[in-house]
Amino acid sequence: MKHIKTLNTQTLQNTLKKGGCGECQTSCQSACKTSCTVGNQSCENNK
């Protein structure tokens, strides 16, 4: 594709199927205690 570079092909829709195991870290247990930063936690379901 000449005009567009896509950085990721794993989409959120794909995570609907196997997601929701709940094993990943609670966001405020990492390094924020006053904001909510869920997007930067890692998935633990693919290990």
Binding site: I4, T11, G19, G20, S27, Q29, A31, K33
Partner: protein, 455 residues
């Protein structure tokens, strides 16, 4: 829904509902708003032909159409039914914030815990209360294997023996119940010594070391009770601690306020001292506090985030990069959509425990009596509070509906919402603005580094 923006020379298109990120040229950047509105091709061409060649426009349209068909552009948000079903699952508890000490040896000006006391009295958690908390966690965690326990305060090192005893007790229970405890510690460093570091390196999955950045900034906000600064005491200890953990599995964590809106300097100061894991976040304070972040500070803070992001790209290219927690984003293996949309887990999966064993929805609600949920001896008594928090998610918040960042903040912090609007189902507006900016910067960094890896 598409969010497009320009940052640091990159044209970035985020397809919000799929999470796909595209770096595009100018013609695509200009074509996308027309396509999102469903304009016919001839309208797009006629609107843009003064600026670009017709063939170029047609190529751009065709590229976008290809991405749309592949499910990477103009996707719909069809997650709501799944999330609602997901939220109806029985509640399990998987994380506790143990307030091991409601006391502190510092008197930080912005402390939401009011120098450790949380609107209450000074107190230390006994081993017995802590043990009951761990037993409660094990008993209520269902089939979750990873259980998180943060030793928090006040200052947890003021009750260090109990921390050690609880870790020992937790470890003794792991095999019996097929659980894996992840202990973490948040400390101001004042009492840190070699023995504590050694113990933490063996037992703590993460440690959060509180420091605000430059000496004058730190010492102004984080003094001892006698007014003297804490920087000189804690810095050598934090450096040693971080090195002893191989510069991993820790964060130096600071707070910036209205008084240091040039906080990128503080982040860089920490990085320049050799810290590789840095987290510095905006203070959340009542508007009447002189150090509170105000609406008129937002533009300046956003500039500062841009400056920091650009500098981080530069340093990464020079081989001296570092991690800034609030710019971390995993575009390929981040959390699933359930996690992203169902909120932080406060009041449901995550609870705070006071020194005398009371449960609150999270550390920030401690001391707000209407949120007292029960205690470690009798369990959860206020299931209505649990239900209220369970229902708190992106789809319950009007402000999140049209926000591109909703898959990254998961509806924001319930405690902040409550503080500013008296309801957990609202959102703290300044926090939202800054969150959006951080997501933009985080994605720009990925775009810049992806370009690098191609060259």
């Amino acid at each position: 829904m598409v969010h497009q923006y320009k940052n640091n020379g990159y044209n970035i298109v985020l397809d919000v509902n799929s999470g796909a990120v595209h770096v595009v040229d100018d013609v695509v950047y200009d074509v996308i708003p027309f396509m999102e509105k469903g304009e016919p091709d001839e309208n797009i061409v006629s609107s843009l032909k003064e600026k670009y060649g017709i063939e170029e426009i047609e190529e751009a349209v065709s590229d976008c159409r290809e991405l749309k068909e592949a499910g990477f552009l103009f996707t719909e948000d069809n997650y709501k039914p799944s999330i609602e079903a997901f939220k109806k699952r029985p509640t399990v508890v998987k994380a506790l914030c143990l307030h091991i000490a409601h006391d502190c040896n510092l008197a930080c000006r912005y402390c939401f815990a009011e120098e450790g006391e949380y609107h209450g009295r000074r107190a230390l958690m006994s081993f017995e209360v802590g043990k009951q908390a761990l037993d409660f966690l094990i008993a209520n965690s269902g089939n979750r294997r990873n259980l998180e326990v943060d030793f928090f305060g006040g200052e947890p090192l003021m009750n260090w023996q109990v921390v050690k005893d609880l870790v020992e007790y937790g470890r003794s229970q792991e095999k019996l119940h097929d659980k894996n405890f992840r202990f973490t510690l948040t400390t101001n460093g004042v009492l840190l010594n070699d023995e504590i570091m050694e113990f933490c390196n063996k037992e703590m999955a993460n440690v959060v070391l509180s420091i605000d950045g430059r000496k004058e900034v730190n010492d102004k906000m984080r003094p001892f009770r006698n007014g003297s600064g804490s920087y000189d005491l804690i810095v050598p200890k934090f450096k040693k601690f971080a090195d002893s953990r191989n510069q991993e599995k820790y964060y130096v964590r600071g707070t910036f306020t209205h008084e240091n809106l040039d906080f990128a300097e503080d982040v860089l100061h920490l990085a320049d001292m050799g810290f590789k894991q840095v987290s510095v976040e905006p203070v959340v304070a009542s508007p009447e506090e002189e150090y509170a972040i105000r609406e008129e500070d937002i533009a300046r803070i956003c500039e500062e985030y841009d400056k920091l992001a650009a500098e981080m790209v530069k340093r990464e290219r020079e081989g001296r990069g570092f991690t800034f927690f609030h710019f971390m984003i995993d575009l390929t293996g981040g959390p699933c959509v359930y996690k992203r949309l169902s909120g932080c887990g406060s009041g449901t999966e995550y609870l705070a425990v006071t020194p005398w064993g009371d449960f609150y929805p999270c550390h920030q609600f401690v001391g707000e009596e209407e949120f007292l949920m029960g205690n470690v001896f009798d369990g959860i008594k206020r299931e209505d509070i649990q239900e209220e928090f369970k229902g708190c998610n992106v789809y319950a918040k009007d402000k999140c509906r049209d926000c591109f960042a909703r898959f990254y903040c998961s509806g924001g912090c319930a405690a902040n919402s409550y503080k500013f609007h008296g309801s957990i189902n609202d959102a703290y507006d300044i926090g939202c603005e800054l969150q959006r900016k951080r997501v933009e910067c985080a994605i720009m960094i990925k775009a810049a580094l992806a370009e690098e890896s191609e060259e």
